[in-house]
Symmetry: D4
Subunit: 253 residues, 8 copies
């Protein structure tokens, strides 16, 4: 239910078109669908501007199939993350109209309106950070933003980064993924004018602490114009980057 339908409902009560019982039921409950093990939030797009996104990891094959099948009936655009190639191989026959990226482990159905201007740059510090960076890039792209990727530009050889600064400086937003000591995003944020989303990756060993060392480096960074998402949360970074890339453009729509 969006704000217009709320006003319509009030009009309906006032003019008698909507009974009091009905009104009470509608007003105390918003629209969703109960599958027993999941309640699908069919009006999220109206509320937050972006469709339902399903976190597939930890759900059974049949739960995933049921959720996407139910969503397919009511939603025009759906995204699922953390769907491994193994699971996708087993369930893809049940989801005939869905696309899938094995690098990003993302599944989707339908298409979002494109943001025509601007682009998001997605960087990875090393080769091992690429899968998480790919999730960010894929989600951001599916949501409608143009995306350019730059992999293995970590600061151990800082000239690799400096050489791409001119290009990434033109982005609306940068996602910088890094594991180990997680230095990349802070260095980038000190060199470019656009906001930077720091994406810590659970790559490393010992004091890498499964990504916590990278996370804390990013949170502590002295460079301003940067904020951070959860470890390995490529989805969250890509989603936030799309929001920033599409921000303040509504008037041109």
């Amino acid at each position: 239910m969006n704000r217009d339908s709320l006003k319509a409902l009030i009009d309906g009560i006032a003019c008698g078109a909507v009974s009091r019982e009905k009104a009470f039921e509608r007003l105390s409950s918003l629209d969703y669908e109960d599958l027993g093990f999941a309640r699908l939030d069919h009006h999220r797009a109206l509320r937050t501007g972006v469709p339902v996104v399903v976190f597939c990891q930890g759900k059974s094959d049949s739960q995933i199939i049921d959720i996407f099948t139910a969503l397919a009936e009511k939603e025009e655009f759906v995204i699922g993350t953390r769907l491994s190639p193994e699971v996708h191989g087993r369930i893809s026959p049940e989801l005939p109209e869905h696309g899938y990226s094995p690098e990003a482990k993302v599944v989707w159905r339908g298409e979002a309106p494109r943001v025509e201007e601007g682009f998001v740059a997605v960087l990875s510090a090393g080769t091992a950070d690429i899968p998480v960076a790919e999730e960010a890039a894929c989600v951001c792209s599916l949501l409608g933003s143009r995306v350019k990727t730059f992999f293995d530009v970590g600061i151990a050889g800082i000239h690799r980064l400096l050489s791409i600064v001119p290009e990434i400086s033109g982005a609306s937003c940068i996602v910088a993924a890094a594991g180990m000591e997680g230095t990349l995003p802070g260095v980038v944020a000190g060199l470019v004018p656009c906001p930077v989303i720091a994406l810590p990756v659970s790559v490393g060993y010992g004091t890498g602490l499964s990504g916590f060392s990278a996370l804390f480096t990013m949170l502590n960074s002295c460079a301003a114009g940067m904020s951070v998402v959860n470890i390995d949360n490529g989805f969250g970074a890509g989603y936030m980057a799309h929001k920033i890339n599409s921000a303040n453009r509504k008037e041109s729509d």
Copy 2:
């Protein structure tokens, strides 16, 4: 040095107007000023679009005075954070043209160009979170964004939050400050279309872990469209919010 002056320098070398020694010196060193204990970065505004910001905490009175005095000669707009009222009381005679907000502990000189459209909403979950929220609001406003504040809207009484949703939904970006369990930003992000900057606050006791419990809550939030800054980093949140609020508006400039 910005990109144009780099090109001018190359032209100068090619046409002989700049000697080789001078070129080598300029190319291997960018512009800053060395005070001995601090190196002032006079071209940050050209590089990242925002002026130098001085973190005053932990610096001596005379260091602060020297830094602001040196900056005042070359920079048109300067911000300093974490300047306690006690220190400000002692040094304000030496910094005659600087403004100061005791709530936000922010000092500044000069003025930034205003972003005419849009606004940033700054929320605090409780009363104790207000000082950090004020730092975010003050910095964001000084940088040029319009700011509206909404304090004590935490979810213990969720109707307090729901009642302001219509108003904050119109923001370009929301900063949500919360200590203790830090739930506010995630709930907000599930209700509004704009990006949310989560700002954990070191308020609480016991398992509050000086803000870490709030920080982890925010990083883990299932709600998308949110990213996080360091504990008590009101400056970082306000800066990021301004970047988002001013994003993609260049064409109207």
Copy 3:
């Protein structure tokens, strides 16, 4: 607003007594009072059955006075916690009709209905745990429950505990406060039939970890019928104990 007034509002819309604009305003906003730095939640009692409780620590003298003064006008019963004797000494002239317990650091105004049957037993493992146990006992008593206290009954001399088992076994609920290794609540829960609220206390040194060692002991306890509140959260323990003591008695009211 309670459920009856919601129904009345709907009736009012239907019969025209309430304008559409008014209805929209009322429905999208529940009742609270905005002091600028705090939003007082005047219908909490209707919603959760217990009045507003003010956490005084970290608030300025004038904020505390303003909050209690505002609450005094609309609420019949108010509790404030963590009000130190020093602060109380300064502000008590401004809060003329309020009671105060220096042991529990609790302030209050008005009176709750009494729960006539049953009682809550509040135990402390050692002498140093008493202040937190007193907060629990005081809050629980103010909310309307009868309370009996048993201090210094920790298990280093387990006969001290065994000798009170017959008496505490008759309680509706037991609050057991302990610092250091925090063993008391688990031992109690293995000996009595009633639910036990474990209250970790930040007493100790070294591996006591400011109460975390006690907290984890309590969460890990093999004894069933026990749940845990935050470190030093005497208020939360006393509140929960009162809820359990008054549970399922509504019919006799």
Copy 4:
């Protein structure tokens, strides 16, 4: 041994029916059965009002069979938790009169008296939290309470929760299971009058810290009337909820 049999024993000593040696033995030792690797506590029901509950995880097949066989001879009602379907498949022929729930991983034999009035509501924030919530619901139901379950009502789409508030407000006690950032229980506790048992779940990744982030969120919650059990401890939550649901009803028995 209960209090009556203790009095009978003393009478027996006084009248000579019980020899001094026998008395010394009885008084220094209460009743249990030693299987070598386990000591079965046959009078727990008399002491705490609830039967022995066996934690099956980490025990060998033959240990589990021996324990349940020994219990079956002396106890009328027994519960076992964390019995995986694999192990149950292997040992079920040896435990012919025992029921089993594969969702909750709970095994039982016999039946508890029913609590006729009231009910316990068990909520899960997401789909992945359901197995732990099922353990809570199953244990609570076996102990004699009526249970209603509400799954996938987390706050990312808060209207899903608001729509069930009227129904769950009528519960005697609510168990709220949540992983990731663990916000659900605190939001629920701010909306309902009954006590809430917060049940953190080890679902998530990165800063989820295997359930610790949810645990700390719950312990820190500003909402009162809530207490917390160990991560993934569905048994403990269900047991505590039953104790609260059956509290203060003795007189009607």
Copy 5:
């Protein structure tokens, strides 16, 4: 009550000298004294062989005076730890027959029987570890053991340690106190035949983690014949060392 008096009680019941009511009261409660804020355990010496020890830190002056005054009436030998010289200066007039060591911060009254044979060696790694080592040495000596101290024998100059090995090898037990990296006890345990009590000290900075680094070093030590007490727990180390020094000597008494 000791085992003999328990047998006497049973005889008293059997022969009618003790009434049934009296028997019930005695059997369900052992002997202690309730001061309101503390319950004094007057039969600990009978049970564990060592008198009551009072932890003074965190208790008020009047609580300390009341406890020692009450103990002085019933106990022949009492020890108090963590009594700072400041507090001792204020309360010593009220405790006229008590001894005090300002280095060890230990107060006592009365005298324990001496263990004539053997001795305990107390080592400190550095100068800063001496206060904690002194607490261990003082307590151990008061309990009746002979004690020799060896300070500043840490392994940074390992010849300082090697030169005392012949002498400390003759001890019945060694207490080794160390902060920072806490290496001393493990090296000692690899060189001597007697048991070693490792005593971590909260001396250091940075990764010293207030004694945790020393604690973990000691727990991990590959050298056998060593066990560990809490950080800064000189009392616990001295007490344990006395127990070991006096072990297996009963026959000579």
Copy 6:
């Protein structure tokens, strides 16, 4: 080399029987055997009174065989710990005269002199703690002490523990193994006169923190006469208990 042979060496130098080169070599190097990957310490028994103990976990089959074969030639008594039944099955043909306990995962060759008097009591809190307790019991027994075991005596049903207090009070030393919240050793130490070795076990889940919760409980225990070994270090506990049991008995040998 023991102290006598050191004196003989000096005599040899003085009388010319030992050349200067030989003296220099002997004095700067004590006796051990270098296998390349391991250096066997053949004079440990002389130095610390107990033979070499081999930690088998993490060593290859051939390394274990080589070490035990080399030790068999020079040592009369050897112990190996953490040798899994799988590895033992593969290598036992190569170690023909070695005994093995699959419960304790301990292998040995030869025999230690027996301590005729006294005994060590080894307790486990639950069934899952038995393997670690068995390691302690097996090592302690092999070293020469008499051992009695008492399993599943945790405090959830405290009468199970109270009933064995009379028997364990006669021990020279008690080892108490416990996982989860680790309460058992502290309760035991408050009830018996002998020293207690607390042995934390990595049994549990969630806040059990793989044994750290038990470890911290034990280190924090208010009960005196107790010290602690590393998590799951049954060997260390058994070794320390034997040292205490055999302490101060030399004169009777």
Copy 7:
């Protein structure tokens, strides 16, 4: 690009041999090769004096092959670490001129100039620390330093260490690898005149904390002349040791 080629470039611009466009491109980008998933840093040797080192763990077989193949074309000397024997078995046919050490898990191609004087001593505390020590020794040797290894010289039998002190005292640098409590490096640093690189190893259990206990011991060591690398980072230790061994020798080259 090295400093000479930078000067040549400037000369080229000045004399017109290099076009302005070319100059801009060269000056804003240094030399590397982009494989899509990796950017090879072909001038690292010129910049830091040591060739590219590839961290193979976490890369796919084909990524490793592509990287080494590309490096083989442009680099004369390459090292790869953490290449397991399994992976090496699969890919070795594709890397025909590469050497491999299965103990150190290191692969290489080409040869470094030898440092003729001095040597590096690599020590391991136990047998389980050898693989990490081997990585350090192999890398250090490949880079050109002479290396001597001394395994199983931990301080549990300190004479094993003392006997090698004369020999290792002659080293230019010592690498000391240790797990568990990590004491070895600090003891060594107190005995020798050369710098010591402490190398913590993730060997141990319980409070070993996967190498963190060893790491903190090393960082806290009171012995000076020591610094520390990441847990299990044999490569980093060997590389640093080579840098120290080859330091200040340039003039003799």
Copy 8:
């Protein structure tokens, strides 16, 4: 005692010039002086090449005076660290021939031989890191190395660092001090050929974790040729840097 005097002693025994008793005493004990609370290690210079260094923090005024007075009699060169200006002000009259640096908080007496060639570069990332960097620079210089300092060259404005790369590339060793996210040392190590000592500083707030975030960043750094010392351990960094700067120069002495 150095190696020559050991050989002389053996000669003395062989030729009868040294009695057997004397030999035994000398061989089992090396040279130190016992002040009761401290044992001064008078032969450390012979053993490790560097004099005794006294850690003054945590020692009483009189202990510091006694230690330096005793050292002055036997040692030609002594250093003390962490001596605050307040303490120095009180004790300086007692230490007449000692130098003192208030910035570095270092006291010294005597002079070390100078290392004529090479230099050590000491960098600080920010202004707040200067005191710790000064300690490193002062110690390194006192030990005999030439030192150059470069303050406030952190990577937030990376051109400040790049401009000094040519100069610091000529150092024998670099010490890089940084707090907050601690990125500086890793970036430096990727740009220079000499070894880098990373020095984490406890500057920052929130997730800075009192220097642990910087420490972990440094340990995780992908850049090779770097090792790390304890948080705030300027002394250790300066000492190690001097050892590296003076390494392999012996032949020129």
